[in-house]
Symmetry: C2
Subunit: 149 residues, 2 copies
Amino acid sequence: MKSVKSPEELVVAFRAAGLKVTPQRQLLFRLLHGNEMHPTAETLYEVASAEMPGISLRTVYQTLTDLAAMGELQHIQLGGAARFDPNVDDHHHSVCDACGDVRDVYAPNPDHVSVAGLDGFSVRAARIVFSGKCPRCAGAADDLSVSKQ
Amino acid sequence: MKSVKSPEELVVAFRAAGLKVTPQRQLLFRLLHGNEMHPTAETLYEVASAEMPGISLRTVYQTLTDLAAMGELQHIQLGGAARFDPNVDDHHHSVCDACGDVRDVYAPNPDHVSVAGLDGFSVRAARIVFSGKCPRCAGAADDLSVSKQ
DNA sequence: CCCTAATTCGCAATGCTTGCGAATTAACAA
DNA sequence: TTGTTAATTCGCAAGCATTGCGAATTAGGG
């Protein structure tokens, strides 16, 4: 169980990598720590802006890219804007067709089960995406209400 | 094992749905039939253009959208341009980190195995993406050659 | 052969992300 | 503290993938 790095640990990791620790980055480290909402860059930018008006979306993207490159963040592509997950555990995701909500899911690692068609392919990671209806949306039959994040 | 629909079957399905069968669509039906390369709209457009100069990228997108809506095509989001898979079997994919090659992979359906975190989520589909190195790229150590499709 | 709704297709517009460059700033050493 | 320098910030423009729109065309049933 690799746990999510604390803002302090990220500061150390950044400096160790020859990267600078700016106020903008420290803010983002904090906003990401323990964050389970799988935010997009835009969402994170909005939250960050509230606390630090003037921070730029460009900087948010930059920092997210750096974090992902260091393996401290998971870059999730589900169509539309990319989502970022500070939980770098080996885990998977469920995505609600109706409201778009993304949640963490833990399952037995599928690269240990027998698969056909993987001839010689060396697996680095295996990620499952469960699509369907979240409990809240499953109830309301054809509810079209789509809430962001 | 739901098999891939033939161009003729798609013609029937389209008319049944009140959609017209145009030369452009027939061409795309043919290009997609048995196609295992997981092409992007752009790639498909290029191939189609060779046979039917003047066909528009817009039309390719339109037809792919229609096919996907009818469930005759799988819309795959892996970052970058969407890929389309005429194989609508319950299957998964491997993606090479180096060359981007996408291949079909068959694995035991993961929605039958025990998962934690799926509380009340009703699963419509579970798709696994295996990331890593394909046999060809695994050999060449740090080869940066990235071939399209 | 006609009618009409569906389609094609080009262009503009959108949404997401990255490139670029000038001004600023963190971090390290003197 | 001050100086030096490379990293960073940030706004804008550019890029890629995709969709909206509308005029002209066409499939397909009557």
